[in-house]
């Protein structure tokens, strides 16, 4: 009965997301807001315009980043 899930590494932690989830879905599961967010998939930038189209595969590394205080 369990929903098929895909195992991803999101911000360094293993996460299970529904199979077929898009980058946009993963962002929604991780961050409260979408403004000011940038995403890298396996070290490459995923432009915001592609978030709804790109579906990460098992084992992919996703970094979901925001502005933080810094030098």
């Amino acid at each position: 009965m369990s929903v098929p899930a895909t195992e991803l590494v999101v911000n360094g932690e293993i996460r299970l997301v529904p199979s077929g989830a898009t980058v946009s879905d993963v962002v929604a599961l991780t961050a409260l807001v979408h403004d000011g967010v940038a995403v890298a998939l396996n070290g490459e930038v995923v432009p915001r315009s592609a978030w709804v189209a790109v579906r990460p595969s098992r084992g992919d590394r996703i970094e979901i980043l925001v502005a933080a205080p810094g030098g």
Binding site: T30, V37, A68, G70, G71
Partner: protein, 323 residues
């Protein structure tokens, strides 16, 4: 946050007083930013009608900046402290880093910066390779909608000194990609020239390693960079207190980037104000033209007309030449 996509590589900012360019004395009014609650500049010369540090300002990549202070937000204890530091010093822009989102975080550094109408400048802090820095710059552009980047590529965690080879490679790639690149660089005039040739919009040489507060370790090198640079020079890193910022401006820098000296001060708001004032003072001193250094004294009171105050019984003063 607007994206300034018109990349100009020839952004010659208002370099103070290089090449014998005399200060005009007629500072156009800043138009008084109504939001300047704690603008230290308002205590300036009333005759100028404005703040010398913010008038006839600095232009980078075609964008006129309202101040010559760049505030690094790293090390700030709270967003409230950042808010008051910005209010007290009115920086031209505030740097931020890109870090993993904290799902539980409330409030954002971006909210604070936006509230003051200040530009945000994403950096590539924490990158050791050109490749990582380029990717981080692109992420910053995605997240913040600006093509400006403070490019940092460091060599190791112990010194945090720039890796010149990786830095130049990243700068070339990012300029090609349409970024306005502001590289954090060594106090090396040759590397500064290479970065300018690569199309960077400014160079940001260090005064001393990040967070050391050692001031400007090699003022001679900073002077050489200023003298030969055709793009704005922003002293970055090493500032420990207000006088260091004044020295940077006296050396001819166009602006100063300060993070730790403000954010880790016991009273960041007060130090932010002090440094803004120091930048203003240093710029004015630069424009005023300091006296040359001498190795022997030069009296400021004239020797002619000095009274003869010898007692009548006193032998003639040595060298008086009496017969």
């Amino acid at each position: 946050m607007t994206a300034d996509l018109d990349h100009a590589t020839t952004g010659t900012g208002g370099r103070p007083a290089t090449g014998g360019d005399p200060p005009t004395g007629s500072h156009p009014a800043t138009g008084g930013d109504p939001a300047t609650g704690g603008d230290p500049a308002t205590g300036g010369d009333p005759a100028t009608g404005g703040d010398p540090a913010t008038v006839d300002g600095l232009t980078i990549a075609g964008v006129r900046l309202a101040s010559r202070l760049f505030l690094g937000s790293g090390g700030i204890a709270s967003l409230e402290a950042l808010d008051s530091a910005i209010a007290a010093s009115r920086p031209a822009l505030v740097t931020v880093a890109l870090r993993r989102v904290d799902p539980g975080a409330r409030g954002s550094v971006l909210d604070v910066v936006a509230r003051h109408g200040v530009r945000v400048l994403p950096n590539t802090a924490g990158c050791f390779t050109a490749r990582d820095a380029v990717t981080t710059a692109r992420l910053g552009r995605e997240a913040l909608g600006t093509n400006w980047v403070k490019l940092e590529v460091i060599g190791d965690e112990d010194t945090l000194l720039p890796d010149a080879v990786e830095l130049l490679a990243a700068a070339e790639t990012l300029v090609e990609d349409g970024f306005v690149v502001l590289p954090y660089t060594n106090d090396d005039p040759v590397l500064a020239r290479r970065l300018e040739q690569a199309g960077c919009a400014a160079v940001m040489p260090l005064g001393a390693p990040i967070g050391t507060g050692l001031g400007i370790a090699n003022p001679h090198n900073i002077s050489m960079i200023v003298e030969s640079s055709g793009i704005p020079v922003v002293l970055d890193a090493g500032i420990g207190t207000a006088s260091d910022a004044a020295v940077a401006m006296e050396l001819g820098c166009d602006a100063v980037l300060v993070a730790s000296a403000i954010t880790r001060a016991r009273d960041p708001e007060r130090m932010a104000r002090a440094i803004a004032l120091a930048i203003e003072a240093g710029l004015e001193a630069r424009r005023a033209g300091r006296i040359p250094r001498r190795y022997r004294a030069e009296a400021s009171s004239p020797f002619s007309g000095v009274a003869d105050l010898r007692s009548t019984h006193q032998a003639p003063a040595r060298g008086a030449g009496t017969p």
